[in-house]
């Protein structure tokens, strides 16, 4: 059953090929047997999953079941879950049990999905390798000596190891697309404002966006249907009409205008990865798309601008973790300052501390104009690059990451090398655009991804293009070596 896609599971449940309880037990059993190899789950919610599966089977029997009824999924541990510990990968929240659900979690519950558990992630979503988690690194199912990417490494590994057919994830600078690329999955970061951020623990509020991680574009469309909503609890949510993202999956790509930014094939890109990406773009040409080279001239400024804006926002967002109301509190504080210093000092990891310090510095008196204001100006230029490009093309394509998954510790000492992992993904977060990564081949037996970027709220176009690609290629059907 774990070989089936979400679309196939939905059919199977409705055909009564298997029940949701059987399906859920099957995945729970796989997690129990196999996850020690990957460390993808932080919390397995077996009781909740079985209760939800039982309820789903009853609804399926009544015939009024919503789309995802009975389909098991995993939630990134950044989404608050009512009554279930939500750690955000940090010692700070190791003891935190929210009394509310994130809107994303609520949406999936309403759509009938079954929650298998909460999956691992870089601490507070800060990282590109899943090495910063308080719960230990997640291993890439394709090669357990390699990282799964980050920060949604737990989501990626769980789906790639077929411990869940799909998972929720979040993307602030590439945290859905880069792990999707490194784990051979389809990962979609929707337009900023498409999915509610309520109950999703903030890293950088103006960049964070939730999205699905699945094995196919069709599954991503099914998951996005449930995930996207307008939510008046999130002031940055956009009241854009919802659509059925599966409806246009089979549209023809004849005449689709594809822009290939020359800046995305710069010297940092591994040649073999570049080849796979170029070959994939050729496939689109065969399907009738027009390919043209474009320029996004401010591409090289995206990483530096991002590493001012994201830390600046996180420096304020993480101030609430002060040991006063919830989360980690140090033993026997001498006074208020001691309480703050030790609670935060003990519970935040190195990367989180680094970013808080960078952000506080960039906002401090005398530096604001040189860093934060300048970065915001750059951000506008980057967005303008895309606005200009979309005058001439429908979809932009290029690599998701510079290379396939790298070995643990290989970038550990050099934060800047790690930051450059997101060189192709960060600009879309700064612009607020949707981006999708799909597998486009293997390099050294490890997957690499093709990134597709479209105009605002044009997720349907991305999913259509990706689905059509997956009808004529089989990269997405390649699976990580089975360990059982």
């Amino acid at each position: 059953m774990h070989n089936l896609t979400i679309a196939e599971l939905i059919k199977g449940l409705r055909n009564k090929d298997f029940t949701s309880v059987e399906l859920t037990r099957h995945y729970l059993d796989r997690i129990k047997r196999l996850d020690a190899n990957y460390n993808s789950f932080v919390t397995v919610t077996e009781d909740i999953a079985l209760a939800q599966a039982k309820a789903a089977d009853e609804r399926l029997a009544q015939g009024d079941a919503p789309a995802l009824c009975g389909v098991p999924i995993a939630h990134k541990d950044i989404f608050c879950t009512d009554g279930v510990r939500t750690s955000c990968g940090s010692k700070m929240l190791d003891n935190f049990v929210p009394p509310y659900d994130a809107t994303v979690v609520e949406n999936y519950r309403k759509a009938g999905a079954v929650m298998l558990g909460k999956v691992n992630m870089d601490e507070f979503a800060m990282g590109s390798s899943n090495e910063t988690s308080f719960y230990g690194p997640v291993k890439n199912p394709w090669d357990t000596n390699c990282v799964p990417g980050g920060s949604s490494g737990g989501s990626a590994a769980a789906v790639a190891a077929q411990l869940a057919p799909g998972a929720t994830a979040t993307d602030t600078g590439g945290s859905i697309r880069q792990p999707a690329s490194l784990c051979g999955l389809t990962g979609l970061k929707p337009t900023y404002g498409r999915v509610s951020r309520w109950g999703m623990i903030a890293f950088a509020s103006s960049l964070d966006q939730a999205g699905p991680m699945t094995r196919t574009a069709e599954d991503a469309a099914i998951m996005l249907n449930a995930m996207a909503s307008f939510d008046d609890k999130d002031s940055t949510c956009v009241d854009e009409p919802l659509c059925d993202y599966t409806a246009s999956l089979n549209d023809s790509l004849q005449g689709l205008r594809i822009g290939v930014p020359k800046e995305y094939f710069s010297e940092g890109l591994q040649p073999e990865t570049a080849e796979r990406v170029q070959a994939a773009i050729k496939e689109f040409e065969k399907m009738g798309a027009e390919i043209k080279e474009i320029s996004l001239p401010h591409t090289s400024l995206a990483v530096p601008a991002y590493y001012v804006i994201a830390p600046a926002e996180c420096s304020a967002n993480l101030s609430r973790f002060d040991g006063v109301r919830y989360g980690h509190r140090c033993e026997n504080p001498k006074d208020l300052n001691d309480l703050y210093k030790r609670s935060r000092g003990e519970a935040f990891g190195e990367e989180v501390k680094r970013r808080i310090l960078v952000g506080a510095y960039a906002l401090s008196a005398g530096y604001y104009d040189a860093y934060y204001r300048k970065a915001q100006q750059v951000r506008r230029l980057i967005k303008q690059d895309f606005v200009d490009a979309f005058n001439d093309v429908d979809v932009i394509m290029g690599p998701t990451a510079t290379a396939p998954a790298f070995a643990f510790g290989s970038k550990g000492d050099d934060p800047v090398a790690m930051y450059l992992e997101d060189i192709y993904t960060i600009a879309t977060n700064l612009a607020g655009l949707p981006g999708l990564s799909i597998p486009c081949g293997l390099v050294d037996s490890k997957p690499v991804g093709l990134q597709l970027i479209s105009n605002f709220f044009d997720e349907a176009k991305l999913l259509n293009a990706a689905h059509q690609f997956q009808q004529v290629t089989d990269h997405h059907q390649q699976t990580a070596p089975a360990l059982d």
């Binding site: 989404f79 608050c80 939500t86 955000c88 929240l93 935190f96 929210p98 009394p99 509310y100 994130a102 951020r197 309520w198 109950g199 999703m200 623990i201 903030a202 950088a204 509020s205 103006s206 008046d232 609890k233 999130d234 002031s235 940055t236 600046a312 926002e313 420096s315 304020a316 993480l318 101030s319 609430r320 973790f321 002060d322 006063v324 109301r325 919830y326 208020l336 703050y340 506080a360 906002l363 401090s364 008196a365 604001y368 934060y372």
Partner: protein
């Protein structure tokens, strides 16, 4: 050397919205600690702010009332600092793009002159919670502090004046005028003792005739006009002493204890936080269009200045009386209700500004919780007008009414305070008194000057009033007495 004082005010006004500025929790005062703090107010992970439209409306109403520009684009910023009663570790406030731009407030001083105080801007922000230290509450052990987040997220406007005031009177008059404006608009309940309005006073002095501003200090969180007046006097004296002794004023934040009348330094400029302001990414800039503003302008209630002019026009009050009665909406309402019910604006005004106001002050009550309602006061005034009781007896009746003993009529009946207007009975008393005072009668008759005669009648009035236990109608007694005295000659 002669010194000139320069004062500017920063005024925090709690807006009278039902719910908080970024959450749906209630803003009601006085509930058990932490019962009015929801997940957003507690800054639980993943929670997000949603702006309260009413807070914007109220801020715009204030802006229109002071003839200010309304910010068409209003941006919230994060002001970062750690404190246990600030759950997010930052205050959501406004900096460069506030809701209310420059405006002005007119004040009337006791010498009859007027002055315009410029408003630099007013911005929307959230209030913090309260830290309760030992002694503030029972039940906590030694060295423990408690945090009550009920107030966290209560909407405020912070009104920032230009340094246009030159003495305590101007500052206090300005503060009272702001109180009058926000309570007339109904955007603040005006309850100073509950912290609904709090004043930060910036004070500096300079040699009279010079232009450069001296180094200022800021005394924070004054919540009474009296404290403000005392604190200004104290701080001005301190600064002049320091300067005259050759010292320098240190730019600092100070605290003033109104009960002990002692001020102390809280922190110097060097210790001040770097607040690292930046636009709040959870809240988009709010665009306010002209129609929205005009709609609010049309619905603005009557403002104190307009009301004062109307009271002069409509009720024939003096500028001074009208100014006092029009200053706050509650007093104005009380006055108009009383006047309507007793049909005598002058008497209503005198009673409200006299006996009622003295009682309210003595008992530290506001007019809203006066034990004597406007219609009840009118009932008393009616009995003065129809000669049932004298003004003097009315004061006694009012005392009883204040104690909650009932309406004027029932007190007059129960206590037998009705004025004696029976001519026959009065004539008999007057006759008896005249008969008992032959010497005074002779003196009276020997006097030619009518003015002096009138004065001499006092010798008879006292005993007559005593004989009637003060219930004789003084006008009638006067009439009968002068007739009978003249008959003696």
């Amino acid at each position: 050397m002669e010194w000139e004082t320069v004062i500017g005010l920063e005024v925090h006004v709690q807006l009278a919205t039902d719910t908080k500025i970024f959450s749906g929790a209630s803003t009601a005062f006085g509930s058990a600690p932490n019962t009015q703090a929801c997940a957003i107010d507690l800054a639980m992970p993943g929670t997000l702010p949603v702006p309260n439209e009413k807070a914007f409306r109220y801020a715009i109403m204030f802006g229109l009332a002071i003839d200010a520009d309304i910010g068409k684009r209003s941006v919230f910023e994060r002001k970062n600092y750690f404190y246990p009663d600030l759950p997010k570790g930052y205050q959501t406030t406004q900096l460069d793009e506030p809701i209310v731009g420059p405006g002005h407030v007119e004040i009337q001083l006791s010498d009859g002159s007027t002055k315009s105080i410029r408003i630099h801007h007013a911005h929307l922000e959230e209030d913090a919670g309260k830290s309760l230290h030992e002694g503030d509450f029972g039940g906590m052990g030694h060295g423990m502090s408690g945090i009550d987040l009920n107030r966290a997220g209560t909407p405020l406007i912070e009104i920032v004046s230009e340094p246009d005031m030159r003495n305590a009177e101007e500052a206090v008059t300005f503060a009272r005028k702001l109180h009058s404006i926000v309570s007339s608009l109904g955007i603040c309940d005006g309850e100073m003792s509950q912290g609904s309005m709090r004043f930060d006073v910036n004070i500096s002095v300079r040699p009279k005739g010079t232009e450069t501003l001296g180094t200022r200090t800021e005394t924070k969180n004054l919540n009474s006009f009296k404290f403000m007046e005392d604190c200004i006097a104290l701080e001005v004296e301190r600064q002049i002493d320091v300067l005259e002794e050759g010292g320098e004023i240190i730019q600092e934040t100070r605290l003033y204890n109104g009960d002990t009348k002692v001020a102390r330094s809280m922190r110097s400029k060097e210790e001040a936080n770097d607040y690292r302001y930046f636009p709040c990414p959870d809240l988009l800039p709010v665009e306010i269009d002209d129609d929205y503003i005009e709609d609010i302008r049309k619905q603005l209630p009557e403002l104190p200045d307009a009301r004062q002019a109307r009271f002069v026009e409509q009720y024939g009050l003096s500028e001074y009386d009208a100014g006092i009665l029009a200053a706050d909406a509650a007093t104005a309402q009380y006055f108009e209700t009383t006047t309507e019910a007793c049909n005598d604006a002058k008497l209503a005004a005198n009673w409200i500004m006299g006996d009622l106001s003295a009682k309210l002050n003595a008992d530290e009550k506001t007019i809203n919780d006066s034990p004597v309602a406007a219609t009840a006061l009118a009932g008393l005034i009616v009995r003065i007008k129809d000669n049932t009781i004298s003004n003097k007896i009315a004061k006694q009746v009012f005392e009883h009414m204040w104690k909650g003993e009932g309406e004027a009529d029932s007190i007059i009946d129960a206590k037998g305070l009705k004025q004696m207007s029976d001519t026959g009975e009065l004539e008999k008393i007057v006759d008896d008194v005249i008969a008992s005072k032959p010497k005074e009668v002779a003196n009276y008759l020997g006097e030619e000057d009518p003015k002096k005669r009138k004065k001499m009648m006092g010798a008879f009035m006292g005993p007559i009033m005593a004989a009637t236990k003060g219930q004789a109608n003084p006008g009638m007694v006067n009439q009968i007495l002068s007739k009978k005295l003249n008959e003696q000659g």
